[in-house]
Protein backbone atom coordinates (compact mmCIF):
# COMPACT_ATOMS: atom_id res chain seq x y z
CA UNK A 1 0.00 0.00 0.00
CA UNK A 2 2.48 2.49 1.14
CA UNK A 3 4.67 1.92 -1.78
CA UNK A 4 1.89 2.23 -4.19
CA UNK A 5 0.83 5.39 -2.60
CA UNK A 6 4.21 6.83 -2.95
CA UNK A 7 4.42 5.90 -6.55
CA UNK A 8 1.12 7.38 -7.32
CA UNK A 9 2.02 10.40 -5.45
CA UNK A 10 5.09 10.91 -7.49
CA UNK A 11 3.23 10.35 -10.64
CA UNK A 12 0.76 12.81 -9.46
CA UNK A 13 3.35 15.35 -8.92
CA UNK A 14 5.21 14.93 -12.12
CA UNK A 15 2.41 14.38 -14.51
CA UNK A 16 0.24 16.87 -13.01
CA UNK A 17 -1.66 17.74 -16.05
CA UNK A 18 -1.59 14.41 -17.63
CA UNK A 19 -3.56 11.40 -18.14
CA UNK A 20 -4.22 9.71 -14.98
CA UNK A 21 -7.69 9.36 -15.35
CA UNK A 22 -10.32 10.41 -12.98
CA UNK A 23 -10.67 13.29 -10.70
CA UNK A 24 -13.13 13.42 -7.95
CA UNK A 25 -14.15 16.60 -6.38
CA UNK A 26 -14.30 16.99 -2.71
CA UNK A 27 -18.01 16.93 -2.84
CA UNK A 28 -18.08 13.72 -4.70
CA UNK A 29 -15.67 12.12 -2.35
CA UNK A 30 -17.56 13.35 0.60
CA UNK A 31 -20.74 12.12 -0.89
CA UNK A 32 -19.21 8.80 -1.52
CA UNK A 33 -18.05 8.63 1.99
CA UNK A 34 -21.45 9.42 3.27
CA UNK A 35 -23.02 6.95 1.00
CA UNK A 36 -20.80 4.17 2.11
CA UNK A 37 -21.23 5.14 5.69
CA UNK A 38 -24.94 5.10 5.23
CA UNK A 39 -24.89 1.68 3.76
CA UNK A 40 -22.57 0.38 6.36
CA UNK A 41 -24.81 1.74 9.03
CA UNK A 42 -27.85 0.42 7.37
CA UNK A 43 -26.37 -2.99 7.18
CA UNK A 44 -25.41 -2.70 10.76
CA UNK A 45 -28.89 -1.83 11.78
CA UNK A 46 -30.41 -4.59 9.83
CA UNK A 47 -27.99 -7.10 11.12
CA UNK A 48 -28.68 -6.03 14.60
CA UNK A 49 -32.33 -6.49 14.03
CA UNK A 50 -31.72 -9.88 12.63
CA UNK A 51 -29.66 -10.80 15.56
CA UNK A 52 -32.37 -9.75 17.90
CA UNK A 53 -35.00 -11.56 15.98
CA UNK A 54 -33.07 -14.71 15.56
CA UNK A 55 -31.66 -15.08 18.98
CA UNK A 56 -34.28 -17.54 20.02
CA UNK A 57 -34.39 -19.50 16.88
CA UNK A 58 -31.29 -20.31 14.99
CA UNK A 59 -27.79 -19.22 14.46
CA UNK A 60 -28.26 -17.51 11.20
CA UNK A 61 -28.75 -14.05 12.49
CA UNK A 62 -26.01 -14.36 14.98
CA UNK A 63 -23.61 -15.53 12.46
CA UNK A 64 -24.52 -12.83 10.11
CA UNK A 65 -24.07 -10.39 12.86
CA UNK A 66 -20.69 -11.62 13.76
CA UNK A 67 -19.41 -11.71 10.30
CA UNK A 68 -20.75 -8.36 9.65
CA UNK A 69 -19.21 -6.93 12.70
CA UNK A 70 -15.88 -8.25 11.76
CA UNK A 71 -15.89 -6.98 8.29
CA UNK A 72 -17.93 -3.89 8.20
CA UNK A 73 -19.23 -2.62 11.40
CA UNK A 74 -16.15 -0.93 12.59
CA UNK A 75 -16.12 1.13 9.51
CA UNK A 76 -19.53 2.58 9.91
CA UNK A 77 -19.55 6.28 9.95
CA UNK A 78 -15.89 6.66 9.52
CA UNK A 79 -14.36 8.81 6.97
CA UNK A 80 -12.76 8.03 3.74
CA UNK A 81 -10.96 11.22 3.55
CA UNK A 82 -10.57 13.80 6.14
CA UNK A 83 -12.79 16.63 5.32
CA UNK A 84 -10.69 19.64 5.46
CA UNK A 85 -11.83 22.67 7.22
CA UNK A 86 -10.95 26.24 7.19
CA UNK A 87 -8.81 27.57 9.95
CA UNK A 88 -8.56 31.27 10.38
CA UNK A 89 -5.15 32.79 10.45
CA UNK A 90 -4.32 34.74 13.55
CA UNK A 91 -4.74 37.89 11.61
CA UNK A 92 -8.11 36.93 10.31
CA UNK A 93 -9.15 35.89 13.72
CA UNK A 94 -8.13 39.18 15.13
CA UNK A 95 -10.13 41.07 12.60
CA UNK A 96 -13.15 38.89 13.03
CA UNK A 97 -12.96 39.20 16.73
CA UNK A 98 -12.76 42.92 16.44
CA UNK A 99 -15.75 43.14 14.21
CA UNK A 100 -17.66 40.89 16.48
CA UNK A 101 -16.87 42.99 19.48
CA UNK A 102 -18.14 46.03 17.71
CA UNK A 103 -21.46 44.74 18.63
CA UNK A 104 -23.29 44.72 15.36
CA UNK A 105 -24.64 41.33 15.95
CA UNK A 106 -26.07 41.03 12.53
CA UNK A 107 -23.42 40.45 9.97
CA UNK A 108 -25.96 40.43 7.16
CA UNK A 109 -25.15 39.33 3.72
CA UNK A 110 -23.69 42.60 2.65
CA UNK A 111 -21.35 42.77 5.56
CA UNK A 112 -20.29 39.24 5.05
CA UNK A 113 -19.16 40.02 1.59
CA UNK A 114 -17.18 42.98 2.76
CA UNK A 115 -15.59 41.13 5.54
CA UNK A 116 -14.74 38.24 3.36
CA UNK A 117 -13.11 40.49 0.86
CA UNK A 118 -11.14 42.12 3.57
CA UNK A 119 -10.05 38.90 5.12
CA UNK A 120 -9.15 37.27 1.89
CA UNK A 121 -6.13 39.51 1.85
CA UNK A 122 -4.83 37.60 4.76
CA UNK A 123 -5.48 34.10 3.65
CA UNK A 124 -7.82 31.68 2.05
CA UNK A 125 -11.36 32.29 3.13
CA UNK A 126 -14.89 32.22 1.85
CA UNK A 127 -18.11 33.89 2.70
CA UNK A 128 -19.43 30.73 4.13
CA UNK A 129 -16.51 30.64 6.48
CA UNK A 130 -17.25 34.09 7.69
CA UNK A 131 -20.88 33.35 8.00
CA UNK A 132 -20.24 30.24 10.01
CA UNK A 133 -17.76 31.97 12.14
CA UNK A 134 -20.20 34.59 13.22
CA UNK A 135 -22.87 32.06 13.67
CA UNK A 136 -20.71 30.01 15.93
CA UNK A 137 -19.26 32.96 17.70
CA UNK A 138 -22.64 34.28 18.61
CA UNK A 139 -24.02 30.96 19.66
CA UNK A 140 -21.08 30.15 21.81
CA UNK A 141 -20.80 33.44 23.50
CA UNK A 142 -24.45 33.14 24.27
CA UNK A 143 -24.07 29.73 25.75
CA UNK A 144 -21.22 30.90 27.79
CA UNK A 145 -23.24 33.61 29.36
CA UNK A 146 -25.92 31.13 30.04
CA UNK A 147 -23.59 28.75 31.73
CA UNK A 148 -21.80 31.35 33.71
CA UNK A 149 -24.76 33.29 34.83
CA UNK A 150 -27.04 30.67 36.19
CA UNK A 151 -27.05 32.38 39.55
CA UNK A 152 -30.75 31.85 39.59
CA UNK A 153 -30.34 28.35 40.77
CA UNK A 154 -33.23 26.41 41.99
CA UNK A 155 -36.55 27.65 40.89
CA UNK A 156 -35.22 29.06 37.72
CA UNK A 157 -35.39 25.70 36.19
CA UNK A 158 -39.09 25.34 36.49
CA UNK A 159 -39.74 28.83 35.36
CA UNK A 160 -37.49 28.47 32.46
CA UNK A 161 -39.20 25.34 31.42
CA UNK A 162 -42.60 26.87 31.49
CA UNK A 163 -41.40 29.83 29.60
CA UNK A 164 -39.83 27.91 26.86
CA UNK A 165 -42.85 25.78 26.51
CA UNK A 166 -45.02 28.76 26.12
CA UNK A 167 -42.80 29.84 23.38
CA UNK A 168 -43.98 27.02 21.32
CA UNK A 169 -46.40 29.09 19.41
CA UNK A 170 -46.42 27.19 16.21
CA UNK A 171 -49.91 26.09 15.39
CA UNK A 172 -49.55 22.43 14.96
CA UNK A 173 -51.50 21.74 11.93
CA UNK A 174 -49.55 18.70 11.22
CA UNK A 175 -48.12 16.76 14.02
CA UNK A 176 -47.68 13.12 14.34
CA UNK A 177 -46.45 11.33 17.32
CA UNK A 178 -43.19 13.00 17.69
CA UNK A 179 -40.45 13.63 20.08
CA UNK A 180 -41.21 17.25 19.81
CA UNK A 181 -40.73 17.15 23.49
CA UNK A 182 -39.61 20.62 23.83
CA UNK A 183 -38.53 19.92 27.24
CA UNK A 184 -35.79 22.23 26.32
CA UNK A 185 -34.92 24.06 29.33
CA UNK A 186 -32.02 26.31 29.27
CA UNK A 187 -29.78 23.38 29.19
CA UNK A 188 -27.75 24.03 32.19
CA UNK A 189 -25.85 21.07 33.31
CA UNK A 190 -28.02 20.66 36.30
CA UNK A 191 -31.24 20.57 34.46
CA UNK A 192 -29.82 18.30 31.90
CA UNK A 193 -28.97 15.70 34.41
CA UNK A 194 -31.94 15.61 36.67
CA UNK A 195 -34.45 15.59 34.01
CA UNK A 196 -36.38 12.39 33.84
CA UNK A 197 -36.01 11.87 30.20
CA UNK A 198 -38.29 10.00 28.05
CA UNK A 199 -36.39 6.90 27.30
CA UNK A 200 -38.44 5.42 24.61
CA UNK A 201 -37.35 5.02 21.11
CA UNK A 202 -38.10 7.63 18.64
CA UNK A 203 -35.99 6.43 15.86
CA UNK A 204 -36.09 2.80 16.62
CA UNK A 205 -34.09 1.96 13.64
CA UNK A 206 -30.97 3.89 13.49
CA UNK A 207 -30.37 5.95 16.42
CA UNK A 208 -26.75 5.63 16.76
CA UNK A 209 -25.67 6.73 13.42
CA UNK A 210 -24.56 9.67 15.38
CA UNK A 211 -22.36 7.71 17.60
CA UNK A 212 -19.29 9.56 18.41
CA UNK A 213 -18.57 7.53 21.44
CA UNK A 214 -14.96 6.60 21.71
CA UNK A 215 -14.93 3.30 20.08
CA UNK A 216 -11.59 1.86 20.71
CA UNK A 217 -11.63 0.19 17.38
CA UNK A 218 -12.16 3.28 15.44
CA UNK A 219 -8.88 2.84 13.80
CA UNK A 220 -10.36 1.50 10.67
CA UNK A 221 -11.48 3.50 7.78
CA UNK A 222 -13.89 2.25 5.23
CA UNK A 223 -11.28 1.99 2.66
CA UNK A 224 -10.85 -0.64 0.13
CA UNK A 225 -8.30 -3.18 0.94
CA UNK A 226 -6.13 -4.85 -1.53
CA UNK A 227 -8.51 -7.68 -2.05
CA UNK A 228 -11.33 -5.40 -2.83
CA UNK A 229 -13.23 -5.92 0.32
CA UNK A 230 -14.05 -3.45 2.91
CA UNK A 231 -12.53 -3.74 6.25
Amino acid sequence: WQKQLQNNEKADRTNNNMMFVKVMTDEQLETLRKQIAVYATLCDQLVEMHRTLSTHHDLTGVRVGNIYCDSLMTSAGQKITSRQRWTPTPLQLQILERIFDQGNGTPSKEKIKEITAELSHHGQISETNVYNWFQNRRARSKRKLQNNVPPTTIESEVDAEVDSKDKKTRPEELIGSQQQQHSTIIMTNASATNRPEKLCFQNPELQYLNNQHPNKNNKSDPIFTSDGTLR
Copy 2:
Protein backbone atom coordinates in the same frame (compact mmCIF):
# COMPACT_ATOMS: atom_id res chain seq x y z
CA TRP B 1 -3.11 5.46 6.88
CA GLN B 2 -4.50 8.67 7.90
CA LYS B 3 -1.13 10.00 8.40
CA GLN B 4 -0.02 8.95 5.02
CA LEU B 5 -2.89 10.82 3.60
CA GLN B 6 -1.99 13.86 5.51
CA ASN B 7 1.50 13.69 4.28
CA ASN B 8 0.39 13.43 0.77
CA GLU B 9 -1.78 16.33 1.25
CA LYS B 10 0.90 18.43 2.66
CA ALA B 11 3.29 17.46 -0.01
CA ASP B 12 0.82 18.39 -2.62
CA ARG B 13 0.09 21.65 -1.12
CA THR B 14 3.59 22.72 -0.62
CA ASN B 15 5.30 21.34 -3.64
CA ASN B 16 3.00 22.51 -6.25
CA ASN B 17 0.76 24.96 -4.69
CA MET B 18 -2.11 23.67 -6.61
CA MET B 19 -5.22 21.99 -5.69
CA PHE B 20 -7.46 19.19 -6.71
CA VAL B 21 -5.67 16.00 -6.27
CA LYS B 22 -8.13 13.26 -6.04
CA VAL B 23 -7.21 10.78 -8.62
CA MET B 24 -8.80 7.51 -9.44
CA THR B 25 -8.40 5.21 -12.31
CA ASP B 26 -11.33 4.04 -14.26
CA GLU B 27 -11.04 0.61 -12.81
CA GLN B 28 -10.94 1.99 -9.36
CA LEU B 29 -13.98 4.01 -9.91
CA GLU B 30 -15.74 1.08 -11.41
CA THR B 31 -14.80 -1.07 -8.50
CA LEU B 32 -16.02 1.50 -6.13
CA ARG B 33 -19.24 1.72 -7.94
CA LYS B 34 -19.65 -2.00 -7.79
CA GLN B 35 -18.90 -2.13 -4.17
CA ILE B 36 -21.45 0.45 -3.37
CA ALA B 37 -23.92 -1.28 -5.58
CA VAL B 38 -23.31 -4.42 -3.65
CA TYR B 39 -23.96 -2.56 -0.48
CA ALA B 40 -27.19 -1.32 -1.85
CA THR B 41 -28.25 -4.75 -2.88
CA LEU B 42 -27.31 -6.19 0.42
CA CYS B 43 -29.32 -3.62 2.21
CA ASP B 44 -32.30 -4.26 0.07
CA GLN B 45 -32.04 -7.93 0.69
CA LEU B 46 -31.62 -7.46 4.36
CA VAL B 47 -34.60 -5.25 4.57
CA GLU B 48 -36.62 -7.80 2.78
CA MET B 49 -35.37 -10.56 4.98
CA HIS B 50 -36.12 -8.55 7.99
CA ARG B 51 -39.63 -7.99 6.88
CA THR B 52 -40.08 -11.64 6.30
CA LEU B 53 -38.65 -12.56 9.63
CA SER B 54 -40.67 -9.97 11.40
CA THR B 55 -43.94 -11.13 10.09
CA HIS B 56 -42.99 -14.72 10.45
CA HIS B 57 -42.10 -14.43 14.04
CA ASP B 58 -45.00 -12.23 14.73
CA LEU B 59 -42.96 -9.39 15.97
CA THR B 60 -44.22 -5.95 15.55
CA GLY B 61 -42.12 -3.10 14.48
CA VAL B 62 -42.60 -1.49 17.80
CA ARG B 63 -41.25 -4.38 19.65
CA VAL B 64 -38.33 -4.61 17.42
CA GLY B 65 -37.77 -1.00 17.95
CA ASN B 66 -37.77 -1.37 21.66
CA ILE B 67 -35.49 -4.28 21.73
CA TYR B 68 -33.17 -2.66 19.39
CA CYS B 69 -33.24 0.48 21.35
CA ASP B 70 -32.39 -1.38 24.46
CA SER B 71 -29.46 -3.10 22.97
CA LEU B 72 -28.33 0.17 21.66
CA MET B 73 -28.42 1.75 25.01
CA THR B 74 -26.41 -0.94 26.57
CA SER B 75 -23.82 -0.78 23.90
CA ALA B 76 -23.69 2.83 23.08
CA GLY B 77 -24.38 4.10 26.52
CA GLN B 78 -25.80 7.42 27.41
CA LYS B 79 -26.84 8.60 24.02
CA ILE B 80 -30.50 8.24 23.71
CA THR B 81 -31.68 10.32 26.56
CA SER B 82 -30.69 13.63 25.15
CA ARG B 83 -32.10 13.49 21.70
CA GLN B 84 -34.68 16.04 21.05
CA ARG B 85 -34.79 16.48 17.39
CA TRP B 86 -35.64 14.23 14.58
CA THR B 87 -32.81 12.65 12.71
CA PRO B 88 -33.65 11.07 9.44
CA THR B 89 -32.78 7.49 8.99
CA PRO B 90 -30.39 6.83 6.16
CA LEU B 91 -33.19 5.11 4.43
CA GLN B 92 -35.51 7.97 4.99
CA LEU B 93 -32.88 10.31 3.78
CA GLN B 94 -32.44 8.38 0.62
CA ILE B 95 -36.10 8.45 -0.07
CA LEU B 96 -36.38 12.10 0.68
CA GLU B 97 -33.50 12.94 -1.55
CA ARG B 98 -34.95 10.92 -4.30
CA ILE B 99 -38.23 12.71 -4.05
CA PHE B 100 -36.50 16.00 -3.91
CA ASP B 101 -34.46 15.22 -6.96
CA GLN B 102 -37.54 14.34 -8.86
CA GLY B 103 -37.98 18.00 -9.15
CA ASN B 104 -41.52 18.40 -8.03
CA GLY B 105 -40.45 21.23 -5.93
CA THR B 106 -43.73 21.79 -4.22
CA PRO B 107 -44.45 19.12 -1.69
CA SER B 108 -47.96 20.34 -0.99
CA LYS B 109 -49.76 19.14 2.00
CA GLU B 110 -51.11 16.18 0.19
CA LYS B 111 -47.71 14.99 -0.79
CA ILE B 112 -46.38 15.57 2.63
CA LYS B 113 -48.89 13.24 4.07
CA GLU B 114 -48.04 10.58 1.57
CA ILE B 115 -44.37 10.92 2.08
CA THR B 116 -44.71 10.86 5.79
CA ALA B 117 -46.74 7.73 5.61
CA GLU B 118 -44.16 6.12 3.45
CA LEU B 119 -41.27 7.20 5.59
CA SER B 120 -42.89 6.18 8.79
CA HIS B 121 -42.23 2.64 7.72
CA HIS B 122 -38.60 3.30 8.17
CA GLY B 123 -38.61 5.11 11.43
CA GLN B 124 -40.30 7.58 13.61
CA ILE B 125 -41.26 10.65 11.69
CA SER B 126 -43.91 13.32 11.51
CA GLU B 127 -45.31 15.50 8.82
CA THR B 128 -43.67 18.47 10.36
CA ASN B 129 -40.35 16.81 9.96
CA VAL B 130 -40.95 16.20 6.32
CA TYR B 131 -42.17 19.70 5.83
CA ASN B 132 -39.15 21.18 7.49
CA TRP B 133 -36.86 18.93 5.63
CA PHE B 134 -38.09 20.09 2.29
CA GLN B 135 -38.05 23.63 3.43
CA ASN B 136 -34.48 23.42 4.48
CA ARG B 137 -33.43 21.36 1.56
CA ARG B 138 -34.78 23.82 -0.89
CA ALA B 139 -33.42 26.83 0.87
CA ARG B 140 -30.00 25.38 1.17
CA SER B 141 -29.71 24.11 -2.29
CA LYS B 142 -30.71 27.52 -3.40
CA ARG B 143 -28.07 29.14 -1.36
CA LYS B 144 -25.49 26.85 -2.75
CA LEU B 145 -26.35 27.85 -6.24
CA GLN B 146 -26.26 31.43 -5.22
CA ASN B 147 -22.83 31.07 -3.80
CA ASN B 148 -21.47 29.32 -6.79
CA VAL B 149 -22.98 31.10 -9.66
CA PRO B 150 -21.51 34.52 -9.10
CA PRO B 151 -18.37 34.26 -11.16
CA THR B 152 -15.35 35.29 -9.25
CA THR B 153 -15.33 39.00 -9.26
CA ILE B 154 -12.55 39.67 -6.89
CA GLU B 155 -9.38 38.37 -8.41
CA SER B 156 -7.16 40.47 -6.32
CA GLU B 157 -5.22 37.60 -5.06
CA VAL B 158 -3.62 34.28 -5.20
CA ASP B 159 -6.33 32.66 -3.28
CA ALA B 160 -8.93 33.90 -5.61
CA GLU B 161 -7.00 32.45 -8.44
CA VAL B 162 -6.79 29.16 -6.76
CA ASP B 163 -10.42 29.29 -6.08
CA SER B 164 -11.44 29.77 -9.62
CA LYS B 165 -9.11 27.10 -10.73
CA ASP B 166 -10.67 24.91 -8.20
CA LYS B 167 -14.07 25.59 -9.54
CA LYS B 168 -13.01 24.60 -12.93
CA THR B 169 -12.44 21.12 -11.75
CA ARG B 170 -15.95 20.82 -10.56
CA PRO B 171 -18.21 19.79 -13.30
CA GLU B 172 -21.25 20.13 -11.19
CA GLU B 173 -22.74 22.38 -8.70
CA LEU B 174 -20.72 22.39 -5.59
CA ILE B 175 -21.53 22.61 -2.03
CA GLY B 176 -21.31 26.09 -0.81
CA SER B 177 -19.20 25.50 2.16
CA GLN B 178 -16.49 23.57 0.51
CA GLN B 179 -13.97 25.74 -1.04
CA GLN B 180 -10.59 25.16 0.22
CA GLN B 181 -8.20 22.52 1.24
CA HIS B 182 -8.09 19.30 -0.62
CA SER B 183 -6.86 15.96 0.34
CA THR B 184 -5.67 13.13 -1.71
CA ILE B 185 -7.12 9.77 -2.29
CA ILE B 186 -5.34 7.45 -4.49
CA MET B 187 -6.40 3.97 -5.12
CA THR B 188 -4.10 1.49 -6.60
CA ASN B 189 -4.98 -0.71 -9.42
CA ALA B 190 -4.27 -3.65 -7.30
CA SER B 191 -7.04 -2.78 -5.00
CA ALA B 192 -9.39 -2.31 -7.81
CA THR B 193 -9.19 -5.62 -9.46
CA ASN B 194 -11.11 -7.70 -7.08
CA ARG B 195 -14.55 -8.90 -6.73
CA PRO B 196 -16.75 -6.91 -4.52
CA GLU B 197 -18.72 -10.03 -4.03
CA LYS B 198 -16.47 -11.00 -1.24
CA LEU B 199 -17.80 -8.15 0.69
CA CYS B 200 -19.08 -9.70 3.80
CA PHE B 201 -21.67 -12.30 3.97
CA GLN B 202 -20.45 -15.82 3.75
CA ASN B 203 -23.51 -17.30 5.24
CA PRO B 204 -24.99 -19.78 2.85
CA GLU B 205 -28.35 -18.38 3.39
CA LEU B 206 -27.19 -15.10 2.12
CA GLN B 207 -24.82 -16.33 -0.45
CA TYR B 208 -27.19 -15.80 -3.24
CA LEU B 209 -26.93 -12.15 -2.69
CA ASN B 210 -23.52 -12.16 -4.10
CA ASN B 211 -24.56 -13.43 -7.43
CA GLN B 212 -26.95 -10.72 -8.11
CA HIS B 213 -26.20 -8.13 -10.58
CA PRO B 214 -25.83 -5.00 -8.59
CA ASN B 215 -27.71 -2.98 -11.10
CA LYS B 216 -30.65 -5.22 -11.18
CA ASN B 217 -32.86 -2.47 -10.05
CA ASN B 218 -32.12 1.13 -10.35
CA LYS B 219 -32.49 1.65 -6.68
CA SER B 220 -29.30 -0.22 -6.25
CA ASP B 221 -27.25 1.97 -8.41
CA PRO B 222 -26.03 4.50 -6.01
CA ILE B 223 -24.05 7.10 -7.74
CA PHE B 224 -23.65 10.54 -6.47
CA THR B 225 -25.90 13.18 -7.74
CA SER B 226 -24.75 16.32 -9.29
CA ASP B 227 -25.20 18.39 -6.25
CA GLY B 228 -23.18 16.13 -4.11
CA THR B 229 -26.04 14.68 -2.27
CA LEU B 230 -27.34 11.23 -1.91
CA ARG B 231 -30.35 10.08 -3.66
